[in-house]
Amino acid sequence: MEPLIKISDLNVGYDKVPVLHNVNLEIFEKDFLGVIGPNGGGKTTLLKAILGLIKPFNGTIEFRKDISGKKKPIGYLPQVKHMDRKFPITVFEVVHSGSIMEGASKSKKIINEKVEQLLNEMGVYDIRNKAIGELSGGQMQRVFLCRALLSDPKILILDEPDTFVDNRFEGELYERLRKLNEEIAIVLVSHDMGTISSYVKTIACVNGNLHYHRSNTITQEQLNDYNCPIQIITHGAIPHTVLKYHQ
């Protein structure tokens, strides 16, 4: 099977200072990749490189032919803590702004209907005319998830969607992602390894470089070997695979 995204020997960073070294990664259809790693390790940098927001120093990021146009059919949920909460924009408009992404309908009517449908599904329809500054953290996340889904993306990229989220929505969010994952590939950045490990299919640890397994379990020893200082919580009920050390 041809991967949706194939990253080869990627070196990337900001202002000539490299953050990620020699990253190799393949993302396949219906993958659910959890990206973990310490702050400053390059998780967000990896997402930005995939989104084309920063240019690689060297190495390549190739998209499968059918999605390799200038615009990519990607849904993106950035870290909401970087949003300007004082910006005069309503919830409806934020979700509607997803229409600029590739894959969104060109018809105004269809887009408006889809916005309303997503707002309803996510339980934020009643606050559609509120300014984003009036929302709670959890509501913000829902609204930005609506925006990311508006264009029916082939790949959904989420940067720490679990910050500020109440427990109830966290469960809801992951269940929703699990459903979406039946159709599309998901890349999820989180520092809460414990929660995501029961949902993701593969895990990548990013800390200057990237180590990854096509499995959703990873042991504390491996994290140590990877120099990936993350606390791991294992799930008793879930079948366990312990991977051997590899390069």
């Binding site: 927001l53 200038k70 615009k71 950035p78 005069p88 702004s97 229409s99 300014a131």
Partner: protein, 269 residues
Amino acid sequence: MNAILELFQYDFFLKAFIAAVFASISCGIIGSYIVSRRIVFISGGITHASFGGIGLAFFIGFNPLLGAVLFAVLSAVGIQFFTKVAEIREDSSIAIWWSLGMALGIIFIFITPGYTPNLMSYLFGNILTVTISELWWMFTLNVVIIAFFALLFRKILYIAFDEEYARAAGLPVTLFNYLLIVLIALTVVLNIRVVGIILILSLLTIPQATANLYTNNFKNLLILSSVFAFTGTVSGLFISYFLDIPSGAAIIFTLVIIFAVLKLLKSVF
């Protein structure tokens, strides 16, 4: 009331009134964009840099507004270039252009022989001396701004709100940023006659702050800011006439009073 109506029989007053309408629309819209994007300081830099052009025009002897347009656009693009390409910190780039423009203006005016009669009206504005050709320029600017915002409203809003997301979607973000900064430069310069270089920032920020008390919707903010700008400018114009005080200062005073009263009312009730 009659005294007010009689004023409109005077040619100079009618022109001032029309200038107030044009200034309110352009500053209402462009100011909303500036405030929402938090680029008030950039706008201040462009405004003050334009003084260099006014000085140059006095020295060589051409229309000062043309000189101001030249320097405003140059500094607008220059600030973007310094920040994005030359990687100078943005606030420092702004300060460099801001002070360089003022310094050049002062030098040019100093070496210009004789007395520069209109200097004060460029610094502090004098809406009562607006000329017909200036009104035509303001009218053209208003048409351009309204057309630009009407046709590309959502793109402007989405880029302003989340530039990174717009880039990921493949929108021409840099082009939009340059176009809008040029529109800011033109708005600033063509409205200099209304409140002057020193005071123009007020028309770009105070009506917006007032409008922001009542709406968080970008489209409504554009409209409401223009309405508050109009109310303040016209009231200030009358106050200036009847109390015989400088129009620019009277307009700003009115804008601030409107804001303060409404803010107070909103906090109390």
